[in-house]
Symmetry: C2
Subunit: 473 residues, 2 copies
């Protein structure tokens, strides 16, 4: 494809892109396809001869788009949002064209230096302490894995790196019962053993109970284990719980434990000072993860990973073969030593575009609007006798269930709510996911897509009520 | 930014993108900036108020672009290529706009089913055995980590997942002395201990010596270790060595070892049948990694990771919290269980666009042209008395050094060649990296950028000769 043809095709793409975003509300939120439906439309072998872009685009529109779940749809309330804002999309276009691999400073100095600066902007935007330095990882799962690795190596003086885990006491790790599954996944990958992961019970607000954490640590020490890390969560995925950092941080300092803070979703709210109550005690954290690719208008993937002692991360991850040595390594940052992949995309550009285009003001407004919408929805739910609000919105996540009046068993309630969510998602009008709270199956409603306005939340709530009340009991 | 404004801005981006690619040869290949030069031009804090796209784009052009190393430049011969072909860029534009998170089938069925099908296309394109199934990972480093994790768990019947590595015999792993640094990195992360990684010497062609592998395995068994995995490399990063899969595979079968094959760079050549000699014996491989984001015209990041027993990968990586359960999980593939991150970008689309736009024929032509250019360059180097070809091009990687006639010490030769490469890279006309072969510092020349034609290789060679011969001895 020569440059003239590329230019022509790229302009056609832009027309499609603008049209897609303009008319996104006309599409069902969740793809209304059955397993195997897309596969059946794709040939089993690649074509021998090249095909025209017109033909490829036609198939993209006919086969692929109907199978897409539309994360940018204003009625997307599932999981957490993954915003692709216009300035972020524009940056991704530029990055895709230049295609630099940002593993070393030398392989694109601007990518490295912009990453350092933009993460410093983020640190300031979030009101995080001076001295924390940031790096962009692909996801929170990876950032948590890297933090736990650094914690493991720090606790064993890098002995496991050299001789393996066999040579050290069992390393024990602590998180709340509501912590994200990425913690358990990291424990498996790192060879620590799921058996050595302690799940600390939460209180009625879904926050880790520090007294029980203390007991668990002491029990493990008495049993000859080596506690090495606590993962505290700010905004749990299922229930929006906020672990109390002050007492947890004190215990970590006392027992020399690495404190990793997972604020993947809720952290974006820190842009507005009124939500910084959640980081009271953050000065004792060794690492923090926040996902701008969720609520902060930046295209997935873009995870901000802040660490207090980057040298611990680098020491745990650095490998130095001859072909990767450069002449000025003492003067620059080579981010490949800060994560698992060697090659890295140029992710800082979209974050720079977003922060500049919206400014601190624009970001704060975006956050505040959604928190307000969630509060309003919470009030609406509480006003209805046949709905039960299990998790009121601290920020923008609510969990609730339909509980028709009368004597209905818990088992029936679970089954009704399961029907309700399937019916809602099948309708294409709205997309929600579910969770279970003490065995109660409930709807999980997460606000945060950039296009979501009051009308969308109101419409969703009307649909939920109507659908619930029309279900056969 | 409303839709009209987005459309206008995106069309402006396309003009910039087309212009960038049209005039890329006018730019220095490696960014001619000093450490800190970009940083100095970026404010220390994010702006309070939003800024215009015109202003942001202006800074992008003035500050960022001069600090970019141009991987799409036809005179980029460093590391390995990272091609961003036009159809691949077009696909990335669409993906950035839709921004789906492809962790579960349900979160975008088309992304999952297209990934499965396109990886099957790739398997066929590469002539890999039926029964291998593919998944897209971000990089080869991550794919290798996941393979080694699955190997570790498979060897210990998932005991380490549960109880930690302390409960098992020391697990030993084998790769050639020329294997990629990602193997050592994975060993560190997985807690196996660098001490348990055996580096097997290579022969004069930089291929692992299977007799020495056999000896090492036997020695470890006798010492009470548990050999569990061999990593064989097809196309080593430094020296283009190809480990012999037949004898290595036999040893793996005999001792029940996981065979992971790293063909990250060279694997793309498998698209042309005449290069399939390298996979003689591949039927014994348990996993294979090939990077379409290197030589196969697909934007970084896109690593094809093939596994024989995906259930081993899934068992090692799967975590099932309530909020990620969906109703049809028995019928579909949820790729989040095949890798480290939970969230995943929609990477299959660009691969689909590339394979369809170029077809098998187009891909083969692209590979063959570069191999021919490398062979021609090898001949030119051999024809010069004052140059020494240390690694002739099996595919498209050559290593050579300037060796002026007369009695020059090895130390002086190293210093001269170091000067040579710095001088070349500083010129901006060409970008090469180096390696060391038995302590000999040499230039490493990797062909494979889509825009590289005969004239660029010839011009680079002329510049190298001229620069070398003008160096003060």
């Amino acid at each position: 494809m020569d440059n003239a043809e590329f230019k022509k095709q790229a302009h056609l793409m832009v027309d499609w892109m603008a049209d897609y975003l303009e008319n996104i509300e006309n599409r069902p939120v969740r793809a209304p396809v059955k397993p195997g439906e897309i596969t059946a439309q794709i040939p089993i072998s690649p074509p021998q001869h090249g095909e025209s872009m017109a033909r490829i685009m036609n198939d993209f529109c006919q086969i692929v788009v109907p199978g897409i779940t539309h994360w940018q749809h204003p009625s997307f309330f599932a999981y957490f949002p993954a915003n692709a804002s216009p300035p972020s999309i524009l940056a991704e276009m530029l990055v895709a064209t230049m295609g630099p691999v940002c593993m070393l400073w030398q392989t694109s100095p601007a990518a490295t230096e912009l990453e350092t600066q933009v993460l410093e902007w983020l640190r300031e935007l979030f009101g995080l302490p001076l001295g924390l330095v940031g790096v962009i990882q692909d996801t929170a799962s990876t950032a948590t894995l890297c933090s736990l690795l650094a914690a493991r190596e720090s606790a064993t003086a890098h002995r496991t790196n050299q001789y393996g885990l066999k040579t050290v006491s069992p390393l024990t790790l602590y998180c709340s019962a509501e912590a994200h599954s990425s913690v358990a996944k990291a424990v498996k990958i790192l060879g620590l053993g799921s058996d050595n992961l302690r799940s600390i019970p939460v209180d009625s607000q879904f926050a880790m109970q520090p007294d029980l954490l203390k007991d668990a640590i002491q029990r493990d020490i008495a049993a000859g284990c080596r506690p090495f890390c606590v993962v505290a969560t700010l905004g749990t995925t299922s229930t929006s719980g906020f672990d109390p950092l002050v007492p947890i941080g004190d215990l970590c300092r006392q027992h020399d434990l690495w404190l990793h803070v997972d604020a993947a979703w809720a952290g974006s709210a820190l842009a507005a000072p009124e939500f910084r109550w959640m980081i009271n005690g953050i000065s004792k954290a060794d690492s923090i993860v926040i996902n701008p690719h969720k609520w902060l208008l930046t295209n997935f993937d873009c995870t901000a990973h802040f660490v207090r002692h980057p040298e611990e991360l680098v020491k745990a991850l650095s490998i130095q073969p001859e072909y990767l040595k450069t002449t000025n390594q003492q003067l620059v940052t080579d981010y490949r030593d800060w994560g698992i992949p060697l090659g890295r995309r140029f992710r800082a550009l979209k974050l720079w575009f977003v922060l500049r285009y919206y400014g601190i003001e624009g970001i704060q407004k975006h956050i505040r609007v959604h928190v307000k919408l969630a509060q309003e929805l919470g009030d609406l739910i509480e006003a209805e006798e046949d709905f039960q609000l299990l998790v009121p919105p601290t920020l923008t996540l609510l969990c609730f269930r339909y509980r028709p009046t009368g004597n209905v068993s818990e088992q029936t309630l679970n089954s009704i709510n399961q029907q309700l969510i399937e019916s809602l998602n099948d309708s294409g009008e709205v997309y929600l996911t579910h969770t279970r709270i003490q065995d109660q199956f409930c709807l999980r409603f997460a606000i945060g897509a950039q296009r979501t306005e009051r009308q969308h939340v109101r419409q969703a709530w009307a649909t939920i009520k109507e659908t619930a009340r029309s279900l056969p009991l």
